[in-house]
Every structure is written in structure tokens, then in C-alpha cells.
Symmetry: D2
Subunit: 146 residues, 4 copies
């Protein structure tokens, strides 16, 4: 994760060990588990900064994922101790963007990178073209500037 000068980055981390049921017949974690690890990271971030699913719901919105990508750098093997790091990437758009890194705790080597983009919908499934007020307030509170 490249740090830009003067940038204040919001982030969270969560340690995990892959489940036996998450590995395939080569004992490697199946790529379809990465969205789960990313989700765990978002929940950790949400708890830390008060912007979890229930906070968003409580304000009358829903924030579906509209774009997700991940790149596999090194296999995650059953028995490894891992850590997923999540970074908030500021944007002027009415979106929530996160970047992710999964690392092998033993040597801090990078296993997976990725990102996700969420938009806001109201409870009638209408897409929001501008940030909801509660989210603008949250950005001010955390001094997030894009």
C-alpha cells in the first residue's frame, strides 16, 4: 500500500486462519473465499469507524457492492496465519471505495490484493447520485478529504 505524502489514511486489520472448508483439492484457499475475507475486513472497519452495515441501515440506506476485483499473488494454504488489511480510499463520487491486502503473518508476504466499490441505495432500491447527509457528516468527522 503506497502511502501518499500528507494523506491521512483510515484503515483496519483482522487476523484469520482459513477454514478447512475453504481450501480446494490442492489444499489452497478457493478464490471464492476472498469476498468473505474482504467482508470481514469491512465489518472490522465499520466497527472501528462507526460506518458498518447497521449504521448505514439505521440511516435509511443500503450500500451494495458494485465493483470488486482481486489479484492473487501467492496461495493461501490451510494452516497459514493471515491478516487482511483494509484501507479507505477517499473519493468525491457518491461511493465507498476500499482497498485490501491479505498477508501471511509469518513473513508479512503479500498473498492477495483487491478493491471494492459500494454505492448508496435508499430503501426503495433507488440509487443515490449524491452522498447521503449522514455519510457527508461521517467524512467531516473523520476529516476525510479526497
Amino acid at each position: 500500500m503506497k502511502e501518499t505524502k500528507g494523506e491521512r489514511r483510515l484503515f483496519a486489520s483482522k487476523e484469520f486462519t482459513p477454514r478447512f472448508s475453504e481450501v480446494d483439492s490442492m489444499s489452497i484457499v478457493w478464490h471464492g473465499s476472498y469476498p468473505l475475507y474482504f467482508e470481514d475486513a469491512r465489518e472490522e472497519f465499520g466497527k472501528k469507524y462507526g460506518i458498518g452495515y447497521l449504521d448505514i441501515f439505521g440511516n435509511g440506506y443500503y450500500a451494495p457492492l458494485v465493483d470488486i476485483a482481486f489479484q492473487y499473488k501467492k496461495p493461501i494454504i490451510y494452516g497459514m496465519q493471515c491478516r487482511v488489511d483494509i484501507y479507505y480510499r477517499p473519493t468525491a463520487a457518491a461511493k465507498i471505495i476500499f482497498e485490501y491486502e491479505i498477508r501471511d503473518i509469518k513473513d508479512n508476504s503479500l498473498c492477495t490484493t483487491g478493491h471494492s466499490v459500494q454505492v448508496f441505495m435508499d430503501k426503495n432500491y433507488q440509487l443515490m447520485w449524491m452522498n447521503p447527509e449522514f455519510y457527508e457528516n461521517w467524512k467531516k468527522e473523520w476529516k476525510v478529504t479526497e
Copy 2:
């Protein structure tokens, strides 16, 4: 599945092939996938007899699983062609009970057996102690007698 004399049995069947992501490092389907196969069978049954999740929802109810069990007879291996059979088991209780069998299509041998029990809840999460009217009507329509 033991057939009782004179009993009219409602049932449905669905063919499937296990997904690569459903097998473990021994190339055997992970047992945690069985609830998915059973769910697919219930949906097939629901479509055939007009008693699917959306039918139940449309009548104001929700039918959570409260009891599920499965027994493994023979491993399901990646590449096998399988079939899940679902049988409706009549009961006087305010419950929906199904029995399941998963078979290897090649020789009809039995891989898995199981059952599930569902109850009715209304949309305020209140458990129903008697069958909802729509379900009583459904039982009459299909001449289900316990």
C-alpha cells in the same frame, strides 16, 4: 425410502453435479454443501407443488428450518452425476417435514440421507402453534393426510 402401503407421497427430484469449490482436499464434497443440495430440492418441490418460499412469504409467513440432519453413506466425488430426491412427510404438527436422499445416478447407489423440519413464523417473528390457513388449504388441495 420405505413406501407405506396406500400412502400418497409428494416428491420432487433434481439432478446436479458437485461444484469444484464444494470438494475438499481429498476431492470429496464437503459436508457443509449438503444443506445447499437439500435447499435446491426444497425449491424444486416448492415449484412443483406451489409451496415455495415466495408462496409462503406471499401469504404472510416465513418457514425457518429448525431441525436438520444428514447421514453420509458414500462420498460424493467431483465429477459424479447426482440426484437429490425430496419427499414430503405428512404430520399433524404445525410443521413442514421433508426427507432427502442423494444418489449417484450411474448406479443409483445412496450417498446421503437426511431430513429437515420447518416451522411457521409470522412477519413479526412470532412462532405459529397451528398451521396457517393457506397451508391447511394446500394440504387439502394435495390430499395430504397424516
Copy 3:
């Protein structure tokens, strides 16, 4: 969990919060997630007592689940803090039997009960009718008597 007089019980516990992706459209954890929570409990037990999947593999065996059942007592809701407790149930058979309880940490109320049965297979997929030697040694080490 009924304690039998004089019985020495091996057990482990793991705290968890359900994932957003594990709840259904009623905000209740889908029952198909219970096998995952039980798996997490077995891994915790395996680490605590040296009888995890990799220990079993390392000794040349595989221990597939052949029987699993769970009963739903109270819904697990998104946002709840939960704990899964796992208890080892001694048996003379060539099996590993566990009992499980999932509780709401807030008031210790019981959400789910269940059990699982595992058998031993060697790496040629042959079922073992007697306990492998390493498992007999493990039982002696932990003074497990059935």
C-alpha cells in the same frame, strides 16, 4: 449440556459475530451457516488438544463427517455476539463425536444445539473399523474414557 457425575469433559469455545452474508432476507442467520460455526469450533478444539485436521492428516488419516444434526432454538440475528461451545463425547466406537451449543453472549441464552460424528479413513479412502493407533494414544494422553 448435562454433566454426568465424575465425567471429565474436554471442550473448547469460540466467540463469533455472524457475517452479513450469512443472514437471509429476514436478517436471520441462514441454517446452512451452522456447519461453518461447528467447523470453527472443531478447529478450536483441535488446536487446544492437538487433534486438528493437520494432526490427523499427518498421521495418515482423514476424518470425514458422517452424521450431523442441528436444532434451532432461537434465531441468530445480524449484530449478535455469539459463542459456540464444543464438547467431546467419549465413545468406544472408531468415531469422533462432538456436541455443540451456540449461545447469545448477552444473556447466555441457547440459540442452537447439535452434534457431529466423524469416522476415520486412510488415504486410500478405506474406512477404519478400529481406532488408528495415534488416536488411541491421544485418548490415553487426555484420559478419555467412555
Copy 4:
């Protein structure tokens, strides 16, 4: 899917209906299910063109996903009839690249787009920098030119 003039495209299609367990509390399919739908599409493609997981294994290789991305265009709702289309994208690199589209069968509207990249590993987990011979033969057989 833009058709390039004169290009011969290999593709496959599979119809599906989302499972109840795949929707979230807004009755929308959880994005983490998309990798499963893409996997189903790859299996369909593999069967149609003789390049499935078991074919690759049988030739001594493994083809892990190293890059996957999907974009959400329109929600997939419980009860919808859908179709996933998979297109093979020729490349000179030692990779297998697929593009995906998920459509609502009712009006053929586009719900999701995506792509995946696979590399070849031998059974000692060594990455292949050139295409394995069996894959070069497969490309010739199907007249795939990049």
C-alpha cells in the same frame, strides 16, 4: 459482448435461478455468490470444449484463478430466471482468460459483467511460464488465435 470482425468466439451458457440462501436481507443476491455463478459457467465451458478441471488435472496441471473482477449493473433478485454467458478471450500469454455476463432471461437485460484470469501450475505448485503442451494442442484443435 462486442464481437470483433472475423473473430471466432468460443462460448457457453448456463441458466440458473438464485438460491434463497444467496440473497441478503434486501432480497438481493449477495455479490459473493458471483464467483459461484462464474465457476458454473467455466464448468459448462469445460464440458463443452473438453477443457474442464478434470481434463487439466489429468494432464498434470492445476489452473488457479489469479485475477477476477465483476461489476454489478442491476440487482439479481430472488425468483429471477438468469443466464450466465462465458466467452473465451484468446491470449498469447500462458493464461486462460474468460469474460462473463449474467442476464435476466425475461428481458435479456444485463445484471453483471466480469472476467477471470487463470494460470497453470504443475503438481509441485510451480507456475508455468509457457503454455503446457496439452493446452497448445487444445488451442490448435479449436483454432483459437490471439
